[in-house]
């Protein structure tokens, strides 16, 4: 009887439209077909439109003459160079803004973040005001403010603001002395690298000795001494092969030195102060995430305050800080595209702006521009993921 009953409710094979595996395949085929159809429709329309408007396709335009000038170029560039060259020049300009911005914003962000945790009431309140003020105002507005309202109303070169007798700020931009590397400067560079290698081996030796005998060695001071003394000694022996070219007022403008155009100054300034307000909050959260018990345990072990900070708090705080810090770096890089609004010749202005207007090849140019930013994003996040893995807690 019992066996019969069991047989009566024995599972029958479900019909094919109720089988989860077949359903999954069916849905995916449906989605893929939809996407492909939409894609084909768009491609077809685009091709028709381009043909009727007489727009060329393909990447041949990259080797044609660009015919426009670019204000800022770190590598040689002239009007008769190709679009490809213009692309490289503008890409370097974008990377330049991003790199300088990331360095400044990191320093500023850490300073403000630490200031916000300061026991000094006034300092921590000032840091709070900085953060809340800057991060709640659109970045583009801040760029406009620094560019149109501050840098555009600076005095003419003759009435420049001067700092340290070598740095001049006026409507034409920021002028700073330029280092001139003379014959024999390479000895200093070589000496520096020798010192780096020496310091590396010294730290390894010191760590080994500490593990074996427990004796500590002033690693930090010794490496600092090494890194400073070697280049200085080399400089003395090679007769200081470095001089500064100070900008000079000739006629109505400065010549010589390094000139940073106002667009660059405004962009870097706005980007780094804006991003610093986010980084400050990340730093604060990171430091607060290390529990009080860690500090107490460290002092119970007899570590000094500086050692606690360096060996206990910072390594643990960095673990919390690095992932969001990465996305802030990415944000800064992507936001550097706002350069187009104040005509700093970055990749969006030069390539997706001027080059697109001249050639009309919207699809190729937008695709290249997007690919550039995607690549930068992937490279930065890849590097940071690698570093993060390096720093992360090793769990069982």
């Amino acid at each position: 009887m019992a066996a019969d009953a069991r047989e009566g409710i024995a599972p029958t094979k479900p019909p094919i439209w109720n089988d989860r595996r077949y359903r999954a395949v069916f849905y995916q085929v449906l989605v893929l077909a939809g996407v492909l159809l939409a894609g084909a429709y768009i491609v077809n329309n685009t091709l028709n439109n381009m043909e009727s408007r007489g727009i060329a396709s393909g990447f041949g335009f990259l080797s044609k003459t660009a015919g426009f000038s670019i204000d800022v170029h770190l590598i040689d560039y002239k009007e008769e160079n190709s679009y490809g060259r213009a692309f490289v020049v503008s890409l370097i300009n974008t990377l330049l803004v991003a790199a300088v911005g990331i360095v400044i914003t990191t320093i500023l962000g850490f300073l403000v973040g630490i200031a916000r945790l300061s026991p000094n009431w006034l300092i921590s309140k000032l840091a709070t005001v900085y953060i809340e003020l800057l991060r709640n105002i659109p970045l583009l507005l801040q760029i406009f403010f620094w560019y149109f309202a501050v840098l555009r109303i600076l005095p003419s070169p003759r009435q420049s603001h001067v700092a340290f007798d070598g740095i001049f700020l006026n409507i034409r931009g920021l002028f700073t002395p330029k280092p001139i590397f003379e014959q024999g400067f390479s000895t200093i560079v070589i000496a520096f690298f020798v010192a780096v290698v020496g310091a590396f081996f010294m730290v390894r030796w010191a760590r080994k000795r500490q593990e074996e005998t427990g004796k500590q060695f002033p690693k930090f001071l010794a490496s600092a001494a090494l890194l400073l003394s070697f280049p200085i000694v080399a400089a003395v022996f090679s007769g200081f092969p470095l001089s500064w070219e100070i900008p000079k007022l000739v006629g109505f403008n400065f010549t010589g030195g390094i000139r940073m155009i106002p667009e660059f100054v405004a962009l870097v300034f706005a980007l780094s102060t804006y991003t610093a307000s986010f980084i400050a909050e990340i730093v604060r959260a990171g430091i607060l995430s290390v529990s009080q018990g860690q500090t107490e345990a460290a002092s119970a072990l007899g570590l000094r305050r500086s050692q606690t900070l360096r060996l206990i708090i910072i390594p643990q705080a960095l673990r919390v800080i690095i992932p969001p810090l990465t996305s802030q770096y990415l944000n800064l890089t992507k936001n550097s595209s706002l350069a187009a609004a104040i005509a700093y010749p970055d990749i969006v202005l030069v390539f997706a702006g001027t080059a697109l207007m001249q050639t009309g090849q919207a699809v190729e140019i937008i695709a290249i521009t997007m690919a550039v930013y995607l690549t930068i994003s992937l490279v930065i996040s890849g590097l940071m993921n690698w570093y993060n893995k390096h720093m992360a807690l090793v769990e069982r």
Partner: protein
């Protein structure tokens, strides 16, 4: 009270007042501003900086500023020229929307505020219905009011829209439309089906990896190419689609965070009850996940709200774009700073109050243990 010479039985000594070095104004100043040499130096430096910058700032903003008049000549004093803002106020708020039709925008604002007020009253009972009206009914009414063209309302071209009004339209439409797309993308990213998953990841990472400007550029130059010949695409609509795609990708990541935070037991429990996928998702997982990510959605909205200013680069005159435009007016040269301060102050008030509200929600919705 407590006399030093008097003796007390053990345990009966009256409580002593705390020493004057531990309480009161002087002690507070000592502990918070001058606890060490370094602190004292920093305090003095900060006070000096404040002394240097704050009085001139207030002088410029208020005491030396010009408030009345309607020409450039009214601004004769040293400080800010608020006459400039008052003169251009209509443009900054509504763009070039025709004067006679401004009541349409205003009544849409009023309707929005009036329907939103009950949502903040805890004891109000028909919140769901109000929510449904806000999501589905209100947009239709607002669209009809703004665009017009039938039932007696004259048509208003979107090229006349501008100012704060346009900023609000782009931000609100962008975020409201982005949420459902973002939810679908987030579910797709966590799906078992490899093709669906790959498509969703590709879509999300593509938009998240590129700046909004390139997306806007793409929308303004490539969308017209995508459509069949003769189809004309409104400029505002192109910008809206770009903003929508962009914020949907960010929204998807926010929602994914919420989905990941739901413990596995919830899925398994729902499946054990025999619920199919869409019921597990719609009745069990999403309500919990969305509640978790409300602050995240709010933050995305703040980010998007600030980013709407970028539409001025493709030639729409939003709030900041309008300030730029009137700043180039030959009759009113030299008052850009006032424009930026005004726009910045309004943006600040919006964003700051939204972020405070999101912090408040975070606390209120925290029902964990």
């Amino acid at each position: 009270m407590a006399d030093a010479s008097k003796t007390y039985d053990p345990g009966h000594h009256p409580d002593l007042k705390p020493p004057s070095s531990a309480v009161g104004f002087v002690a507070w100043i000592y502990h918070n501003l001058f606890s060490s040499w370094l602190n004292a130096i920093m305090t003095v430096g900060a006070v000096y900086l404040l002394y240097l910058f704050t009085p001139p700032l207030f002088q410029w903003l208020f005491f030396d500023a010009d408030w009345v008049g309607d020409t450039r000549e009214a601004c004769s004093r040293e400080g800010a020229c608020w006459v400039y803002i008052i003169f251009w106020f209509k443009q900054l708020m509504y763009g070039r929307y025709p004067d006679a039709e401004l009541w349409r925008i205003n009544s849409a604002y009023v309707l929005l505020v009036v329907t939103m007020i009950p949502l903040f009253i805890p004891s109000f009972r028909w919140k769901q219905w109000l929510g449904i009206f806000l999501l589905f009914g209100y947009p239709i009414i607002a669209f009809y009011l703004f665009v017009g063209g039938s039932f007696g309302l004259p048509h208003v071209e979107t090229s006349l829209w501008g100012g704060l009004f346009l900023t609000l339209v782009i931000a609100i439409v962008g975020i409201v439309a982005a949420l459902p797309i973002g939810i679908v993308l987030a579910l797709g990213r966590r799906s078992d089906m490899p093709i669906v998953k790959a498509l969703c990841i590709g879509f999300i990472e593509l938009w998240r990896g590129v700046p909004l400007i390139t997306v806007l550029f793409m929308a303004s130059v490539m969308f017209p190419l995508f459509m069949p010949e003769g189809v004309n695409f409104d400029k505002l609509l192109r910008a809206l689609i770009a903003v929508m795609l962009f914020s949907a990708a960010y929204m998807a990541e926010v929602v994914r965070g919420g989905l990941q935070a739901i413990p596995k037991g919830q899925y398994e429990g729902a499946q054990a009850l025999g619920l199919p996928y869409w019921k597990v998702t719609g009745l069990i997982v999403l309500p919990q996940a969305l509640k978790l990510v409300i602050p995240g959605i709010d933050n995305t909205f703040i980010g998007l709200f600030k980013d709407t200013t970028l539409v001025l680069i493709i030639g729409l005159f939003d709030f900041l774009g309008m300030a730029q435009l009137v700043g180039t007016n030959p009759d009113w040269v030299g008052f850009r700073i006032e424009g930026y301060v005004f726009v910045g102050a309004l943006f600040w008030v919006f964003c700051f109050s939204m972020s405070r509200y999101s912090q408040h929600l975070e606390k209120k919705l925290h029902t964990g243990h």
